[in-house]
Amino acid sequence: MPGDDLRHVDWNVFARTERAYLKRYRGETNSLLTVLLDASNSMAYASHPVTKMDYARFIAASLFYLAIHKQRDAAGLIVFDDEVRHSVRHSTRSGQLQRLLAALESAEPRARTRLEAPLEHFHGLLRRRGIVVVLSDFYASPQAIVRAIEPLRFRGNEVVLFHILDPAELHPRIGGSAVLEDLESATRFAVTAEYAEQEYRERITGHIEALKSGARGAGLAYQLLVTDQPLDAALREYLTLRRARN
């Protein structure tokens, strides 16, 4: 296929058949899992005991376990907010899972979200194509999100957007009127229950739909995950992608 490395063409087969076949090494059946974890302040929100950050950690830990112990895939982690805060290079060596879990545990929400930051770092980390899982609440313009993540797809990666939201972010309950404070910008203003029940829901729903359609239009997988739901939806999505890739 165009773009394949000529060094990997099996010239003996080509001589016999005049068809170019690439040599597949055993190592190339294993995939590369990269988790991009959004650790901005908005991920600290919770209307019940499990924060979005905790939920993302659970998903990441589960994916790492599946990748390393079941699939023997190399897994890596990039924790970011408005910049890359921590990264763990892909590896299959023993102790990699522990390193990844330790990095997950130390990741605490802070600052604001800027998706462009990890992508710059990401390009330096990846040597092989794999599966990229982005765990975030995606509080940005859907077009900007897709525009920032879409390039990963053209490098041959399978990109999954796990859109993590709290139930209260989908159906906020505000008594009468209340003053809300943005966890990332610290902006405060008063909102009314009537707005929260009508316009806000329309806007968040529209945002989700726009992100979903934009992601799919860019060839990105999208899954909305609500923190009061079990993790199996996220894991099922990963396994489906993994199987398809094989």
């Binding site: 600290a44 509080y139 505000i174 009468g176 009127s177 966890l183 990332e184």
Partner: protein, 670 residues
């Protein structure tokens, strides 16, 4: 506006509490963290505006509650001072309805003037209508209702009572003690001098009472009256009964009057009498031929004076046959029958027929036909006679026993039963005589104890009177007069004689009264009065006659007692002039003649100087009294306390309602 207790205004500082709480509340609830406000927009909704408005309204109501509470405790008032205005007062209208107000058109004039005063009454003043007779009667309570007051005035009717300004003053003292406002007393009366109490101090009015007099008579009007009639209430011998009447003139010229005697509505005798100017003249009718039983009699004068109600004097008499009495004495005793018989005849002429019988001729006597029996110094009583007398007493008869020197020789007193413990012959002792030491004035026979002063007893028997009622004792304690009940009757013992030897009692006036009272007591007959005065009280029953119904028919022919009161009423007040028919609790029928108090006949008014003294002012004449000018307005405080309390209540209720809605809204949207 002022405050009677301004110190409580410091409580208004408590408004700081709701202000502080509301300011804290206004900070609002802490901002709620939210992941991102990307999809929110800050907007001022109308709901927020409404909520803010309710917030400020709630704060205002709470501040109002605190301020009104402080103001109420401080007792706010506004002073009122306008020219010609007088403080609220109680107007008391007293209309004299005594007998003298029947003269001419006095009562009608009084009612007209009272209505005129009511018409001038300020609407803010309350008024009360009273009537004045022998006592003050309230026709209304203090009220501002003009129609009720007018109706009360128009309902006033004349009476036969004697008016008393002493009773009026006492009533005003009672009203003033409960009323908290000045009292303006309007008295509509002919202001007779005879309505004044014996002491002028009894007419004193309380200081808060202003007296306004409305005199209805400028000067004394000439008036003749039958002032009194002297006649016994009981007649046994009509031909021997005399009727003596006194005709009086008040502010009258000398005149010749025709005086008539009426029996049961029929004129039976007429006489002429010359009455001197403002003087009196007596008339005597020498017989009173009344039929047996009760008769309605009257003495009347022909007179065309201003007050005809006192031109007739009514009296009631009862004619009955003389009662038989038996006087048993020793054959040798001629003194005691004489003294006793004479005393009885003097006390009640022809009322009793006393049969005197020596004891030795009384053995076969049956005492049942006698009203009473006297055993005077009987040494011994035949057994048959004693038995008959004992039966006579048990059946309700009465016996009087006297113990002279002969009877005192017995061991025991027959019928009475007391043992004789000897005799006292005081004439042989150092003191020579004994006198009455202890007298029970409540005993019917005794009378006034002082009447027994000077009576000397030379002999007395000492009888065991245990179990008896002792009415008299001698100075050495020896019982002199005692009574013992025997069956339905009674036995009265006198421990000395009636012979003027054992004592000198027959020589004293008390002897006649003693004999009269004792015999009437033994026979159950009381001295009957021929007439009474209006407003007097008549006894309807004795203490032991409770529960027995009585009947009273008033001069109008109406029953004066209800069924309920007929069984329990103790007394009857004679409210009208005329004849009252009674059936008493003891079954006896009676007739009572009630006459107006003759003090009402003297129409001479109170001198002006005395009236001025009563009013407390000087130099004011009657016209000035009737047209008394209103008092100059004085500062008066109109309390605003009630207004403050009403507003406080309204604010508290509104705060509760609005606060509940406010809190409920918060609970719906936590």
């Amino acid at each position: 506006m002022g405050f009677l207790a301004p110190g409580f205004l410091l409580g208004a500082l408590a408004v700081a509490l709701p202000l502080y709480l509301h300011l804290l509340r206004r900070q609002g609830s802490p901002p709620q963290p939210f992941s991102s406000l990307m999809f929110f927009e800050p907007r001022e909704q109308s709901a927020m505006r409404r909520r803010r408005l309710r917030y400020w309204l709630l704060l205002a109501l709470r501040l109002a509650v605190v301020l009104l509470l402080a103001a109420a405790f401080a007792e706010p008032y506004i002073p009122r001072l306008t020219a010609g205005a007088a403080p609220d007062k109680l107007m008391v209208l007293v209309i004299d309805r005594s007998l003298s107000m029947r003269a001419g058109s006095r009562l009608a004039q009084a009612k007209r003037e009272a209505l005129a005063v009511l018409a001038r009454k300020r609407s803010g003043d309350s008024a009360q209508v009273l009537t004045l007779g022998s006592q003050v009667s309230a026709l209304t309570q203090a009220t501002r209702d003009p129609s009720a007051l007018r109706a009360a005035v128009q309902s006033v009717e004349p009476s036969d009572s004697h008016g008393s300004f002493g009773a009026l003053a006492a009533a005003m003292r009672s009203i003033a003690a409960t009323a908290r406002t000045p009292i303006e007393l309007h008295l509509f009366s002919d202001l007779k001098r005879t309505s004044m109490p014996p002491s002028f101090a009894e007419m004193a009015l309380p200081p808060q009472v202003t007296l306004v007099l409305h005199p209805l008579a400028a000067a004394a009007e000439p008036n003749w009256a039958v002032e009194s009639v002297a006649v016994p209430g009981e007649v046994w011998n009509p031909r021997a009964t005399r009727v003596r009447a006194v005709i009086a003139g008040y502010a009258t010229p000398a005149a010749r009057k025709t005086v008539s005697l009426l029996i049961n509505g029929r004129t039976v005798a007429t006489q002429q009498v010359q009455v001197p100017a403002s003087g009196r003249a007596a008339v005597e009718f020498t017989s009173l031929e009344v039929p047996h039983g009760l008769s309605r009699c009257a003495v009347r004068i022909d007179s065309s004076d201003a007050l005809p109600a006192d031109d007739e004097y009514r009296f009631a008499v009862e004619r009955s046959d003389p009662k038989r009495g038996l006087f048993i004495h020793q054959s040798s005793d001629e003194r005691s029958p004489l003294y006793f018989g004479t005393a009885l005849a003097s006390a009640a002429p022809a009322a009793f027929q006393l049969e005197k019988l020596p004891v030795d001729r009384a053995a076969s006597l049956d005492p049942q036909g006698y009203a009473f029996v006297v055993l005077s110094d009987v040494a011994s009583l035949p057994d048959t006679l004693a038995d008959r007398l004992s039966e006579y007493v048990r059946r309700g008869g009465g016996i009087l026993i006297s113990l002279g020197t002969a009877a005192a020789q017995q061991r025991a007193v027959p019928l009475f039963g007391g043992e004789l413990h000897g005799t006292h012959t005081y004439s042989r002792e150092a003191q020579r005589f004994a006198s009455v030491g202890v007298a029970d004035s409540t005993y019917p026979s005794v009378g006034q104890p002082m009447q027994w002063d000077g009576v000397r007893f030379f002999f007395a028997a000492n009888v065991d009177v245990s179990g008896s009622r002792v009415a008299l004792r001698l100075s050495d304690g020896v019982p002199l007069l005692a009574e013992r009940a025997l069956g339905e009757g009674r036995v009265v013992l006198f421990a000395s004689g009636f012979d003027n030897l054992t004592n000198d009692l027959p020589l004293h006036p008390v002897f006649v009264a003693f004999v009269d009272r004792t015999i009437r007591y033994l026979t159950g007959t009381e001295a009957r009065s021929s007439s009474s005065t209006v407003d007097e009280f008549v006894a309807l029953r004795a203490a032991r006659e409770q529960g027995v119904g009585v009947e009273v028919v008033d001069p109008q022919g109406r029953r004066a007692l209800s069924l309920a009161s007929a069984a329990s009423a103790q007394w009857l007040q004679l409210a009208q002039a005329g004849f009252y028919e009674l059936r008493l609790a003891n079954g006896r029928r009676d007739l009572i003649a009630a006459n107006p108090d003759r003090l009402e006949s003297d129409l001479t008014p109170i001198p002006p100087e005395v009236l001025a003294l009563w009013r407390g002012g000087a130099g004011a004449n009657a016209a000035a009294d009737a047209a008394a000018t209103p008092q100059q307005g004085e500062p008066a405080a109109r309390s605003l306390w009630w207004y403050a309390m009403v507003l406080l209540l309204v604010a508290a209720l509104a705060e509760s309602a609005l606060g509940s809605r406010y809190l409920g809204t918060l609970r719906e949207h936590p």
